[in-house]
Amino acid sequence: MSIDIRNVRKTFGDFIALENINLDIASGELLALLGPSGCGKTTLLRIIAGLETPDSGQILFHGEDATDRHVSERQVGFVFQHYALFRHMTVFDNVAFGLSVRPRRSRPSKEEIRERVMKLLKLVQLDWLADAYPAQLSGGQRQRIALARSLAVEPRVLLLDEPFGALDAKVRKDLRRWLRRLHDEMHITSVFVTHDQEEALEVSDRVVVMNHGRIEQAGRPDEIYETPATPFVTQFLGDVNLFHGRVDAGQVAIGDYAHPIADASATDGAAKVYVRPHDIELSREPGAALASGTIEHIHAVGPIVRVELKRDDSDAYIDAALTKEQYQSLRLMLGDQVYIRPRKVAVFVDEGAHI
């Protein structure tokens, strides 16, 4: 079921939580709302669910206006960050809850409920815990039960509020993959909120980056990463080095260094230039370099080697990332002076538009 969000605005007193949000979510899509704390992503999710009402704007489910529909009538599934399992009920009763509160006419029989619940518990591989209480489960198990509970009522939309935020790294990775596989099987339109960009980029079909109550960019994970639309998105996704330069006649100049820009008709002016650590090439040859620096720190654990340099002409630091092979062939050591050339840059003229 598709979701259309039209001109949604939400304030809490003087604080503007959401401003002019317009978003179309396709049926069966797995969408991530990504952004720092306070950007409005959770508020937007709760507005879709019906747990908050927007000050103005509309939410449409499959073309029908659902803005005034009560949360209990929206047929959405919601997974809370801290699970919100009913602590006084067994796992079985938790998962069966949505079915057991249906009005008598539409309520399935006890046997049917039992069958559905056990099927869901098997799906999340926790059928052996049916008689346990939530307090006896680990965090990852609780989250899977919370998911099973929300799926029991066959929702048309699944909403997850930082579902893996309260779990440790290994469990988070496992559950991430598990959620993706589940989505591939069930094809429910799903929206999840996260501040972890790795999670958003790895799991979702599309990512919506938000900041200060506005949508900065919406697109496929690779699009967002390779061609960020605003400085905020560039800085938010992954590490990045910032340089200041000027755009002039189809090139951006940073000091003596000039780098060609794809869009030759770009407006001239002062600009911010972003380069990702893995797009920085280090060498010992001084010619046509962006900058030079002295190596202050080398972090050589794992497949990527992180090199931290202090610029010779200022006190700024530059982060570079090399593969193990590149690092070994250059034979870099602490204190070496190296020269930097960028392979790829993202340039934003100071009015903000990406070139």
Partner: protein, 299 residues
């Protein structure tokens, strides 16, 4: 279990020295003995001073029986009323934001800060013969002051805060997540309250009800002002104790007082039981299944 033996032998850096511990504990025990234990024991002592027969005769005296009945009726009305008020007030305060919320919270604590005598006086000024509603009530031949309704009202007033004060912090600490989850799953407001909220607050609720009942049965000041002390009609047990004592009927007075003292002991026992059950639940919850299995197989 092999785990526990060594722990008791080590003194942690955060406990006081033995001397300090004994002095403080001794102090507390002396205080409790003087101000709680001795009076409690003396009530029973005096009541049975002239033997078991006189004790029973005092308790089966028609006026005493009437007082007991009135106390029970009052509690039977006041406690359920305050149960409903308390839950509603706690629900409103813990789950909603609205204008006047701070005022409501303050009003709930009002009966605690007013002297009980003043509380009783409020009702006399409102419903008494010279009160605001006095003439209207006289016209319709409704008696509130110096009759049972007045006693019940005064008791409801002074016992109002107990349930609410117990539930508000409990519900605030538990948060609204579970209730929101129930709503999203399609439960109605009533279903959410009955199946999710109530089980979560049941021990706090029981605790509040026990305290409310103890106060309802033992209230003196407010009831004294509104009751009129009509023997055999508008005397609760505390009032009856006062009357008997003023007539130098010490056996009678202490016999009725022993009922109240007995109630205090029962209340204390119930409170302790409820607290124990509440912590039992939490303790049992904290050990995860795998650890339990490991512990079990370790023996």
């Amino acid at each position: 279990m092999a785990l526990a033996t060594n722990q008791t032998e080590r003194t942690a850096a955060t406990t006081e020295s033995v001397v300090v511990r004994y002095v403080l504990t001794g102090f507390a025990l002396v205080f409790l003995t003087l101000f709680l234990f001795v009076p409690l024991v003396s009530v029973f002592w005096e009541a049975l001073a002239k033997g078991w027969d006189l004790y029973l005769a005092a308790l089966t005296d028609p006026e005493a029986v009437n007082a007991i009945k009135l106390t029970l009726i009052t509690a039977l009305i006041a406690v359920p009323l305050n149960l409903v008020f308390g839950v509603a007030a706690a629900w409103a305060i813990a789950r909603f934001e609205f204008r006047g919320k701070a005022l409501l919270t303050t009003l709930i604590d009002l009966p605690f800060s007013i002297s009980p005598v003043v509380a009783g006086l409020i009702y006399v000024l409102l419903f008494g013969a010279q009160g605001w509603l006095g003439p209207w009530l006289a016209e319709h031949d409704i008696k509130i002051i110096f009759a049972i309704p007045g006693i019940v009202l005064a008791t409801v007033f002074v016992t109002f805060p107990f349930v609410a004060r117990e539930l508000i912090p409990l519900m605030q600490a538990q948060g609204a997540d579970e209730e929101q989850a129930a709503l999203v799953l399609g439960a109605s407001g009533w279903q959410t309250f009955w199946r999710v909220t109530l089980p979560n607050i049941k021990w706090g609720l029981l605790y509040g009800v026990i305290l409310c009942n103890a106060r309802a049965m033992g209230e003196f000041g407010a009831v004294s002002v509104v009751s009129g002390h009509i023997r055999g009609q508008t005397n609760t047990v505390p009032l009856h104790v006062e009357i008997l004592y003023n007539e130098y009927n010490f056996i009678g007075a202490f016999a009725c007082a022993s009922l109240l003292a007995g109630l205090a002991l029962v209340t204390l026992a119930l409170k302790t039981f409820v607290e124990w059950r509440a912590t039992q639940q939490h303790k049992g919850d904290a050990v995860p299944l795998e650890a339990r299995a490991r512990l079990a197989s370790a023996h």
